[in-house]
């Protein structure tokens, strides 16, 4: 376990370095580079721009600039938001809660439903249920999240009036039940794709597990089928799901951005879009780097969790 942990953390470190190089490249790829914000407003002369560039150290060699940028990044100095005039990390932090709330709740929902569908589909392979689940999952993976969001709003908010059409809570209310009520719509919308993903992977994982010899052993012991299914099959089939959870994180983040936009959910995704609209450069770059690091951290955590959950790695 120790060497596994060390190796995995080392890999993550290397990846973080490459991720930062990509981020830095994007920053300088854009026409005007980090100055495009000032250039775009049009009320600065070329002289002014040159002065700002010198102030920002943009006249120095790129490797030096990169090293400095990375150093500031690692120290937590992510720049100041043009729009809020606040440190970028603080701006991100104030929007992170809403996004995490949405992502966690929809992941929970998707895991429960998706795993269940996957298990049932595997044990009743090629049944009507399995076929419908398979086709349904493929359609779910093909529906644009924003459109599904609009459909949900149209049906449940406009049509039936059951759910609020957006926001995290009613202004002036903000009670626990009110927040929950607002969470239902976006949570379902974000969970759709995840549910499809979970059900597909869970199904194939189950199919893999139930053909293993130890399932036959369990059966030869004469223990109830239900116990064979849950104690022996599902328990093993869930192990690879930990890795899937890590791999699914980028898709989930992308979905969250779109869902937040449709439901005017005040999370990181909306902040990102708004920042782009304002050409709030530091915030855009900050969120981009933040999400990439979140994904990196997620897959690292997933691997470590796998190591804890699987005795073959834990006790190695």
């Amino acid at each position: 376990m120790g060497s596994f942990l060390a190796r995995r953390v080392g890999q993550a470190g290397v990846l973080l370095l490459i991720v930062s190089i990509i981020g830095f490249s994007i920053l300088h790829l854009a026409p005007g580079g980090p100055l495009s914000q000032f250039a775009a407003t049009g009320d600065m002369t070329q002289e002014d721009l040159d002065r700002v560039a010198r102030q920002m150290g943009l006249d120095r060699p790129l490797p030096v600039q990169y090293a400095e940028w990375l150093w500031r990044l690692l120290q937590g100095d992510w720049g100041v938001s043009y729009r809020d005039k606040q440190p970028v990390l603080r701006v991100i932090g104030s929007h992170l809660g809403a996004t995490l709330e949405l992502m966690l709740s929809s992941t929970l929902l998707a895991m429960m439903i998706g795993c269940w569908i996957g298990v049932l589909g595997a044990i009743r392979r090629y049944s009507v249920f399995d076929t419908l689940a398979t086709v349904g999952a493929m359609i779910a993976l093909s529906i644009p999240t924003f459109w599904f969001g609009l459909v949900v709003i149209y049906v449940f908010s406009v049509g039936l009036g059951w759910l609020p059409a957006g926001n995290r809570y009613t202004i002036g209310d903000g009670s626990w039940s009110d927040r929950l009520h607002h969470l239902i719509g976006p949570c379902i919308v974000l969970a759709l794709v995840s549910t499809a993903v979970w059900s597909r992977y869970m199904r194939s994982s189950m199919l893999d597990v139930i053909n293993h010899d130890y399932i036959r052993t369990a059966r030869s012991k004469g223990i109830p089928e239900r116990r064979i299914l849950f104690q022996h099959a599902v328990r093993n089939a869930l192990l690879p799901m930990i890795t899937i959870a890590g791999l699914h994180l980028p898709t989930l983040l992308s979905g969250a951005l779109v869902t937040e936009t449709v439901f005017t959910w005040p999370g990181m995704g909306r902040l990102f879009l708004d920042s782009i609209g304002y050409r709030d450069y530091p915030t855009v770059m900050g969120i981009l780097m933040f999400t990439a690091m979140l994904v990196l951290l997620g897959s690292l955590l997933a691997d470590l969790l796998y190591g804890v959950a699987d005795p073959r790695i834990r006790t190695a």
Binding site: L29, A30, M138, I139, S142, F146, W147, V151, S204, T261
Partner: protein, 299 residues
């Protein structure tokens, strides 16, 4: 006498865990139906988008102020009109041209990048392979929509730039697939033999190795079209993709949210088109996967 042997929880009809003895014929047949459905849909859709606009009485840019928000099936406009009185069907077909073209073009470019990176990384391995594949891993850390939006916000988006952008964020999976295939293939006899005969690296890669890895590449290409169409719709919906007046399925939805109460078809129709097209490509991809590599079942 047939005994209810092996039934797990009582009656024999109850399905059970073990399933090694399935009928592949049955399976292929059903899978095939979906793939066939997908292929036919894409064919019809593509034809309609190419030919359709010439046959319609309205162009997609014709503004009929008196006929604003005409609901579908209510008059001259089969699928109704939008907020400016433009014919929805004509717009959907013209948007389809753009969306499908973006899908195919972005797929083609992303495949070229992915195959090249995968080939080189898989063939040379070692330091080159490690660096390339770590770069792939790093690119995959960025959620694609965030990456697309960040870049498209800085550059002025046109159809060509959008295609390039989507391609640049969609080649990594392909590179991974190709790298794994090539790595496995290059140990095999025919590759070793070709190398021993003095064939150049490029020749071994392209003539000997690549054709043997074509099955997963074809599957990935199909799925990549689906991905590209979705990606285009996302960023266009968010306002940073294809810019009006050029219609695309994604940007038709852009301001439809405001009319959700009064004219829901404005949002429903383009969304349904995206779903239909993407589902079809996914079906084809799934069918191809089964047909080309019978060993893999569900992912």
């Amino acid at each position: 006498m047939t005994s209810p042997v092996g039934a797990i929880d009582g009656p024999p009809a109850k399905p059970a865990l073990t399933s090694r003895w399935d009928s592949p014929a049955l399976r292929r047949f059903r899978r095939h139906r979906l793939a066939v459905f997908g292929a036919v849909t894409i064919l019809v859709l593509t034809l309609a988008c190419i030919v359709g606009p010439f046959l319609l009485p309205f162009t997609d840019t014709f503004i009929d102020i008196r006929q604003r928000f005409a609901p579908p099936l209510s008059g001259a406009h089969v699928l109704g009109t939008d907020q400016l009185g433009r014919d929805m069907l004509a717009r959907l077909l013209m948007a389809g041209r753009i969306s499908l073209a973006v899908g195919f073009a972005a797929m083609a470019i992303s495949m070229v990048i992915g195959v090249c990176v995968g080939l080189v990384a898989g063939y040379y391995g070692g330091a080159i392979g490690a660096v390339l594949m770590r770069f792939v891993d790093a690119m995959l850390c960025f959620p694609s929509i965030f990456l697309l939006l960040a870049v498209s916000a800085f550059i002025h988006p046109g159809v060509e730039t959008i295609i390039l952008l989507i391609a640049f964020t969609a080649w990594m999976e392909v590179a991974r697939i190709v790298e794994a295939q090539i790595k496995a293939l290059r140990e095999r006899d025919f590759a070793v033999a070709a190398e021993a005969l003095g064939a150049s690296d490029a020749r071994v890669m392209i003539r000997e190795l690549l054709p043997n890895a074509i099955a997963p590449i074809v599957v990935a290409a199909t799925l990549n079209v689906a991905h590209a169409i979705l990606a285009e719709s996302y960023i266009s919906f968010l306002g940073y993709g294809i810019q009006p007046p050029t219609p695309s399925w994604g940007n038709m939805l852009d301001n439809a949210q405001g009319y959700l109460t009064s004219a829901p078809w404005l949002a429903m129709l383009p969304g349904a088109m995206i779903t239909l097209a993407v589902t079809s490509f996914n079906f084809i991809g799934d069918g191809l996967r089964d047909a080309l590599d019978p060993r893999t079942d569900a992912r």
